[in-house]
């Protein structure tokens, strides 16, 4: 596990799902305590660590560990 999503501050804007070229994220049934549907990491083995999701996240919720 090297992609970390902070459940508490994610607002489910889908920008990371949009920008990821390898479809690592997926919006499923995971809901945080504020009621937002938040993305889940489904295919972590496809990740190339380009950090586009970390760059585009407006809430500073995603962190990709090197």
């Amino acid at each position: 596990m090297f992609i970390h999503i902070d459940d508490k501050i994610c607002k489910g804007c889908k920008l990371c799902v949009r920008i990821c070229p390898n479809n690592v994220f997926q919006m499923k049934n995971k809901v945080n305590d504020k009621g937002f549907v938040i993305p889940e990491v489904v295919n972590e083995n496809r990740c190339t660590k380009c950090k586009l999701c970390e760059l585009t996240c407006p809430d500073l919720a995603i962190f990709v560990k090197k």
Binding site: K11, R18, D59
Partner: protein
């Protein structure tokens, strides 16, 4: 646990996240781009003063762990002039929206650029007054529907970058939130530049502008609309003025040196 959170969060005030912006708002992205630029340049965060007026964008300084001002609508540059004259060693960064900077604070903007005040202005252009519910702003495009113009706006659009170049700013560039690398580079250049530097960032507002003008509240659709409307400066050179109507030219418009405004001699003598 500490290894799992974004290292940029050390610049955010304790307990301020999650922020107030709507899901998918560009203001959050601009906050993160600014933090990245500061982190990259290794600037002293205690030597930076951030100022915000009123509006969605103007709430960005609330989350930053710097000294900050937040108050009257449109008067950000007036405060910046005061701070910069009394403490020239501080770096002053202004976060303002289009309505804040060029509609209500339009006169301050003209005179700060004319004097070449040494500040960095990050103007977030989301094409309307977003916080008050989506009213028409000077940057709203011709014929686009907003809350106060249900039959389409019949006013011509103000090009803020052209205005700043004419008034005498020394660094002017325009980028959009869909181009993060170029935006971060521009912010870095502006922070290092001595003189009035303006970066206009086109940002998506799915809640108000998207709902009224584009009839969608989807962030992706609004971002696509901005991307389709924008064109790079090198490509825009070949097109005629008619083809460039209602399009946004992205790029760096001016980067030059000019003497910086340092106040009256009277203040300096007293200081000695």
């Amino acid at each position: 646990m500490k290894e799992k959170i974004n290292p940029l969060r050390k610049y955010i005030r304790n307990g301020k996240l999650p922020h107030f912006f709507c899901p998918g708002c560009g203001c959050g992205q601009i906050l993160s781009y600014f933090l990245r630029a500061v982190d990259n340049l290794q600037l002293d965060f205690k030597k930076i003063v951030t100022i915000g007026g009123v509006g969605c964008t103007a709430r960005i300084p609330i989350y930053l762990n710097t000294d900050s001002l937040h108050g009257v609508h449109g008067r950000t540059l007036a405060w910046a002039t005061g701070i910069k004259l009394y403490r020239p060693d501080l770096k002053v960064v202004i976060f303002a929206g289009d309505g804040d900077l060029v509609s209500i604070g339009g006169n301050h903007f003209l005179h700060a650029t004319r004097r070449n005040l040494d500040v960095t202005v990050i103007m977030v252009n989301n094409f309307n007054f977003a916080m008050t519910g989506g009213q028409v702003a000077p940057t709203t495009l011709f014929n686009s529907v907003t809350m106060t113009t249900p039959y389409g706006s019949k006013e011509n659009t103000l090009d803020v970058c052209k205005l700043a170049v004419c008034a005498g700013a020394t660094y002017v560039s325009r980028w959009s939130t869909a181009k993060p690398i170029q935006t971060i580079k521009a912010i870095k250049k502006a922070l290092q530049h001595k003189g009035f530097s303006l970066i206009e960032i086109l940002s998506q507002c799915p809640t108000n502008f998207g709902r009224y003008a584009l009839k969608t509240s989807d962030t992706e659709e609004v971002l696509k609309w901005i991307e389709n409307k924008s064109i790079l400066k090198t490509k825009a050179k070949k097109l005629s003025e008619q083809e460039l109507k209602d399009r946004f030219v992205l790029g760096e418009f001016i980067h030059k040196k000019r003497p910086v405004f340092q106040g009256t001699t009277f203040l300096k003598e007293e200081d000695n």
